[in-house]
């Protein structure tokens, strides 16, 4: 059958081209970087427009599966918006976006970060295990690669690609993502690794013998100058364990702080406070405690009791 033979030849050529492209991309070809730049300049604004057109619909669909406080909205805000726009679906979307913006600004205020608000306009497909999203702000807004992205719940990820009006964010749950993390309870350091699933990441502690309990909170360790990750943002909660206690392959399963499956308003950390308090200190000389006043056994809890 001649047609089948011809088709096989065509497929063979295309597969060879694909393999060549993969190799070029892995080696960091600038030509492919240029192609990506053109694609994000052309497709990015279209994604922004499509996302805006379907925003009320998407917002309703996300609310249907969310645990959010959709009912706890202030009557004053609803009234204000009813004057602006009569469409209840649009109202609900605008209200939700405002709540998310307020929560994000509040959390950014805690760290003293200057943030640039943006909205998620496109998601990568779940079946590729790449947790990436497009946001509607780009180099024209002052965004550059390796900036942290957060929302009101915690760290979302980091900027990996920037187009003129859009940027691509690698989520903390991407299967290539590794983030320095710190346990709030003990201060122990570890690495949070994405699994490609929005609801589950894993934590590898540098010292696997550190006691960890379910419910322990995790925050970002922070990178120098806050890039790619700023310090102190909530990352997630320990929800379980895999492997034997004390073994090197023991990992904690983490439920991410930010709900990665339904992101909307995010903030790109544009400016990190240059230094924390780095003034020279002159401590007062410690007073030596009287031997009689020292009472042993008053430590709050035995650390081994929390070990699992």
């Amino acid at each position: 059958m001649r047609e089948a033979t011809r088709a096989r030849a065509v497929l063979g050529v295309l597969l060879l081209v694909s393999i060549t492209l993969i190799l070029l991309d892995v080696r960091g070809s600038s030509a492919i970087g240029g192609l990506r730049g053109i694609a994000s300049a052309v497709v990015g604004p279209v994604e922004t427009a499509v996302a805006a057109a379907f925003a009320p619909f998407v917002s309703m669909a996300q609310s249907a599966t969310s645990f959010g406080n959709a009912e706890e909205r202030s009557a004053a805000a609803s009234e204000q918006l009813r004057e602006v726009n009569g469409n209840p679906a649009t109202q609900s979307d605008v209200l939700r976006a405002r709540e998310e913006l307020e929560a994000m600004l509040k959390l950014a205020g805690v760290g003293g970060f200057q943030v640039l608000p943006a909205r998620v306009v496109a998601y990568g497909s779940a079946q590729t295990f790449n947790g990436t999203v497009t946001i509607d702000a780009g180099s024209g807004d002052g965004i550059s690669a390796d900036m942290s992205v957060m929302n009101g719940q915690g760290l979302v990820g980091k900027v990996i690609e920037v187009g003129p009006a859009t940027a691509t964010v690698q989520l903390a749950t991407d299967d290539d993502s590794v983030i320095g993390a710190r346990l709030v309870s003990s201060g122990a350091a570890g690495a949070l690794e994405g699994t490609g699933q929005p609801g589950e990441s894993i934590l590898r502690l540098l010292d696997p013998t550190v006691p960890v309990a379910e419910g322990d909170q995790l925050v970002t360790f922070g990178s120098p100058e806050g890039r790619p990750y700023v310090a102190g943002l909530p990352l997630g909660t320990v929800v379980g364990f895999r492997g034997e206690p004390g073994q090197a392959d023991r990992v904690a399963l983490i439920s991410p702080a930010a709900r990665m499956g339904a992101l909307d308003v995010v903030g790109v950390v544009v400016v990190v406070p240059r230094t924390e308090s780095r003034n020279a200190l002159t401590p007062t000389a410690p007073t030596v405690p009287e031997p009689a006043s020292w009472t042993p056994g008053t430590e709050p809890t035995d650390p081994t009791s929390a070990r699992r």
Partner: protein, 173 residues
């Protein structure tokens, strides 16, 4: 095999462009359980069943390049292109009959969509992170089977009709 002409090429480009944006900015944001409905792949497979294995492979490759380049670009350029080219090539051996989508066409689309999900999971675990949780793959495959079947019921009549219509006024047919 039906021959391509200028109007058909334009139709394919327009359909692939629309599908890639709708998939990323609408379907993937809905937060549906399991996989993201693979609208683009369903469109590719429908064209392939209309145009034969050689054109199917080329259309699949082009769609894959589009996915690999368009934001939020993920993975290496060429990865999705190779998988979609094979899927388009295989679908091309099934001939799409005019009229209502028949069981054979829907089964081809659903089956190949599941095959693509499994291939992507395998590739992710080989060249991506070893942390890919295989326990989630059955859910991805099952949901994609259902989403692809549902989408094909809409896409096959619409795209099939446009594709045949594009032949009649095409001067290079």
């Amino acid at each position: 095999m039906m021959r391509m002409n200028t109007s058909r090429v334009l139709l394919v480009i327009a359909a692939l462009g629309t599908a890639v944006v709708l998939q990323a900015s609408l379907f993937a944001r809905l937060g549906l359980p399991g996989a993201t409905p693979a609208l683009l792949l369903v469109v590719v497979l429908t064209f392939a069943m209309s145009a034969g294995p050689a054109a199917g492979a080329i259309i699949g490759f082009s769609a894959g390049v589009l996915v690999d380049l368009a934001p939020p670009s993920a993975g290496s350029l060429g990865q999705t292109a190779a998988i979609y080219a094979i899927a388009g090539f295989l679908a091309g051996f099934i001939e799409l009959k005019p009229g209502r989508p028949d069981l054979q066409a829907v089964a081809t689309v659903s089956g190949l969509s599941v095959g693509v999900v499994l291939t992507q999971a395998l590739l992710a675990s080989v060249i991506g992170s070893p942390e890919v949780t295989w326990s989630i793959v059955p859910l991805l495959a099952l949901t994609q089977f259902l989403y692809a079947a549902a989408l094909s019921l809409l896409v096959i009549p619409a795209v099939g009709m446009l594709y045949r219509g594009a032949a009649e006024d095409g001067r290079f047919a």
